[in-house]
Amino acid sequence: MTKYLEYQLKEIKDTYLSYLGPPFNEKDFSPPRPNTTALSLPSAATRLELWRGLENRARLAQNQRAYSVLLAAVRELARSTLCPYLQTSLLHFCTGLDGLLGSISGLMTTLGYALPPPSAVSVGGSDGELQEPRRDGFWILRELQSWLWRSAKDFNRLKKRLRAH
């Protein structure tokens, strides 16, 4: 699932970056990342030893939380996009993300892990709106890309650990 979504995301990201225009669509361009009060995104980046040592429950919980936040973020991004084609693509992508989230939650339940209470997740400011849609959009998709890549490795590790038991 993560592979499929990764592939889909790449297509959307390219379209989105062209839509944003320069300098976002320039190679190697990386705008400054907004601080967490302006845009709170779950970071896929982690210290190697921490990542290795994650217990199954914590590993799944981190993924579950990340995609909950990212799903809300992409929905918000879709809402604030003026281009209809892009909006449709983003919303379609959200369906896939929702499916992934459902699979993770389902797995957690099967393994007997409690799901976090469904809280109102918002990435933007107090009213949930993105403060700087262009820059924020860039980072939402960027972080999503990192998470899909990380999740593939997370699930592989989970598979090996669960098999061992």
């Binding site: 990386s30 990342r33 896929a44 982690t46 190697l48 990542w51 980072w139 890549w149 490795k153 592989n156």
Partner: protein, 349 residues
């Protein structure tokens, strides 16, 4: 002790020292021996000063012990050369007239300022770290050093210079699955100037494993179209459990140009089932992280031929009857391998 204009000098160094330090030491103690180094730009006009002599001093010059053949001009204690090139390199000594005491020695080295180096980075030890290499497109002809700095998410990372390769450095990844790019800046510095080049990349883009190791291809008994191939993940890849590799196998008979390909996930063996019987095959394997980066180079090629059936031996049977006065005749039998010996016995009448 001095004998005429011949000076003796000996310098003994206790420990192993780099050449530059030894030269500096010798120069300080016996300046006329090694000479201070003067770096000058190719194509420029050069002035060499004889020690700290007055402007009205009269000196003569020699280069590497011989007269200066290149076009030059003398101005008191100064030697002037125009539009220098590598041919002007040498040890220039000046001697004060009229007695000819040597006053100074200058090691003239012609070169150029450095140009932007070319930098590339790669991680074959993911997720431990990456290394960067750089080189100059054009030689500067004079000693040139390099400074490297690496930044990630507005933090400077620690850079380890390679103990063997002068133009290589190693950096540990501070974290994995990062969304922030890395920025590597390399500055080339020599006596005539400096030049920098910087590259920017993401963690996922520079990952390229080393090729798989110990590729072994063996025929399978009683199978004329099969070959079993096994290999090991590259030894430089530190954690194949958590960061598994996928593999790409290619094979072809020696007599053909077209390769056949197989992609394999998380498995270090494969059985080829469609080999041409009796034909020698060439086989190679490449590796890649299952999510990110690029394929490794191809492994060393191995050759193997599928199992061939041994030709059957034809055995002959002979009767062990005693022959007394019988006729012995040799009859050639169709197989090329044996000649059957036929013994016909005749009863003696």
């Amino acid at each position: 002790p001095r004998q005429g204009s011949i000076f003796y000098c000996s310098v003994i160094s206790e420990a192993e020292q780099p050449a530059v330090i030894i030269n500096a030491l010798i120069f300080r103690l016996c300046p006329f021996l090694v000479g201070r180094i003067q770096y000058e730009r190719m194509g420029s006009d050069v002035t060499m000063q004889c020690g700290s002599l007055d402007n009205d001093a009269s000196v003569s010059w020699k280069v590497n012990g011989t007269d200066i053949k290149a076009r030059h001009r003398l101005e008191g204690p100064r030697l002037l050369l125009t539009q220098v090139d590598l041919g002007h390199n040498g040890l220039y000594s000046c001697f004060q007239n009229p007695h000819g005491e040597r006053r100074d020695t200058i090691n003239l080295r012609i070169g150029t300022a450095p140009r932007e180096p070319t930098v590339t980075c790669r991680s074959n030890t993911y997720p431990k770290g990456f290394y960067c290499s750089w080189h100059q497109q054009h030689s500067t002809y004079i000693p040139t050093e390099f400074e490297v700095d690496v930044h990630h998410n507005q933090r400077a990372l620690e850079v380890q210079r390679d103990p063997v390769h002068k133009n290589r450095c190693h950096v540990r990844f501070p974290e994995v699955f990062s969304s922030f790019p890395y920025r590597v800046n390399v500055t080339a510095i020599n006596d005539l100037g400096r030049a920098s080049a910087a590259i920017s990349f993401e963690e996922s883009n520079i990952v390229k494993p080393d090729p798989p190791e110990r590729v072994v291809a063996t025929p399978i008994p009683n199978n004329v179209r099969r070959l079993e191939v096994t290999w090991n993940s590259p030894s430089t890849w530190p954690d194949v459990d958590n960061f598994p590799l996928k593999y790409f196998l290619r094979y072809r008979p020696l007599i053909r140009d077209q390769w056949q390909h197989v992609e394999l996930s998380d498995s270090t063996s494969h059985t080829i089932t469609d080999a041409y019987a009796g034909k020698e095959y060439i086989i190679q394997v490449a590796a890649k992280d299952t999510e990110i980066g690029t394929w490794s180079d191809w492994s060393v090629a191995v050759h193997a031929t599928p199992w061939i059936e041994e030709p059957k031996q034809i055995t002959s049977t002979t009767e062990a009857d005693p022959v007394i006065g019988g006729l012995i005749s040799l009859k050639p039998v169709p197989t090329a391998q044996t000649m059957a010996l036929t013994i016909t016995t005749h009863k003696i009448k």
